[in-house]
């Protein structure tokens, strides 16, 4: 199992993600700079959080068209798994690898706190380590995490069971008060039709070791490594 973490100017979760992946993989992922035009032979591409290109124009918009992204798209079309976290999710929507868009948080504030997520789909390589409906605690830290898609697109996501995670309260209830950013239908993470691309706003890498204060993110990396090895 080999992985690459893409690094843009302004990425700031690239190293945390590398540590979390290495912990589950037992070896270091490659770190690939945005100007590079080739990727090593990998089974997983991880697009990290941060503020790529200073969020100029729209979050993720510039990064989505940087040189390495042509290669990421080519690999994704070949079936290589892609995980986008936070800014990485924004980049994947802007690149057209995932549907919808992440808009400014409804309360207009940067939100940085632990939230609860309900695992709605556990039949994916990203989430097989969780039980269906499991409630996990994962931090969010973003200004633009308000997921929006038009009604037809939303219906399609629901029909095809491509909403991987939803914001919920501690008991698992999907409520407005448990929604940190105004996302449509409390959507926290979505899958592409092949279920090999996942984008999510919360940061599993930030709670993937008990020393960080929690370990609920670890199962995602363990799931990925066991599916792809």
């Amino acid at each position: 199992m080999k992985a690459a973490v893409i690094v843009f100017p302004g990425s700031n979760c690239d190293r945390d993600l590398t540590v979390a992946l290495a912990q589950s993989m037992g070896e270091q992922p490659a770190m690939v700079w945005h100007r590079d035009t080739t990727l090593p032979d990998v089974d997983l591409i991880a697009v990290p959080g941060g503020f790529s290109y200073g969020d100029y124009l729209r979050s993720g918009a510039m990064a989505a068209h940087s040189p390495i992204m042509k290669e990421v798209i080519r690999f994704a079309q070949r079936g290589v798994a892609v995980l986008g976290i936070c800014n990485g999710f924004q980049v994947l929507t802007e690149a057209g690898l995932l549907p919808g868009v992440l808009m400014r948080n409804q309360n207009l504030r940067f939100v940085c706190k632990d939230v609860f997520l309900r695992v709605d789909q556990n039949d994916t390589m990203f989430s097989s380590g969780y039980t269906p409906g499991q409630i996990i605690r994962i931090p969010v830290a973003h200004h633009d995490g308000n997921y929006y898609i038009d009604a037809d697109g939303h219906a399609q996501l629901e029909d095809e069971q491509r909403i991987a995670f939803r914001y919920c309260d501690e008991s698992g209830a999907i409520s407005k008060t448990a929604n940190p950013n105004g996302s449509l239908s409390n959507i926290a993470g979505v899958l592409d039709p092949s279920r090999r691309i996942l984008g999510m706003m919360p940061h599993p890498e930030r709670l993937s070791d008990p020393i960080l204060g929690g370990n609920d993110g670890r199962a995602m990396f363990d799931s990925l490594i066991s599916s792809l090895s």
Partner: protein, 82 residues
Amino acid sequence: MKALVHITLKPGVLDPQGKAIENALTNFGFQGVNDVRQGKYIELDLPDSDPATAESTVKEMCERLLANTVIENYRVEIVDRA
């Protein structure tokens, strides 16, 4: 040739920033302010001398980068300005 690009949120897409501006205007005492929508305005110079070519180039720019057509509409104005 200059292009003036107006990017606006599609009708129906919530605009919390527009709403906050609307509330602030009301607090300033401006009465009856409704439906404030915030957008973007981008100006650029083009080498083209034919307005039709320039317009189609800028529309392509909008589709590929300047606007996110999931939530945004765009309007392109070409002006002949030195």
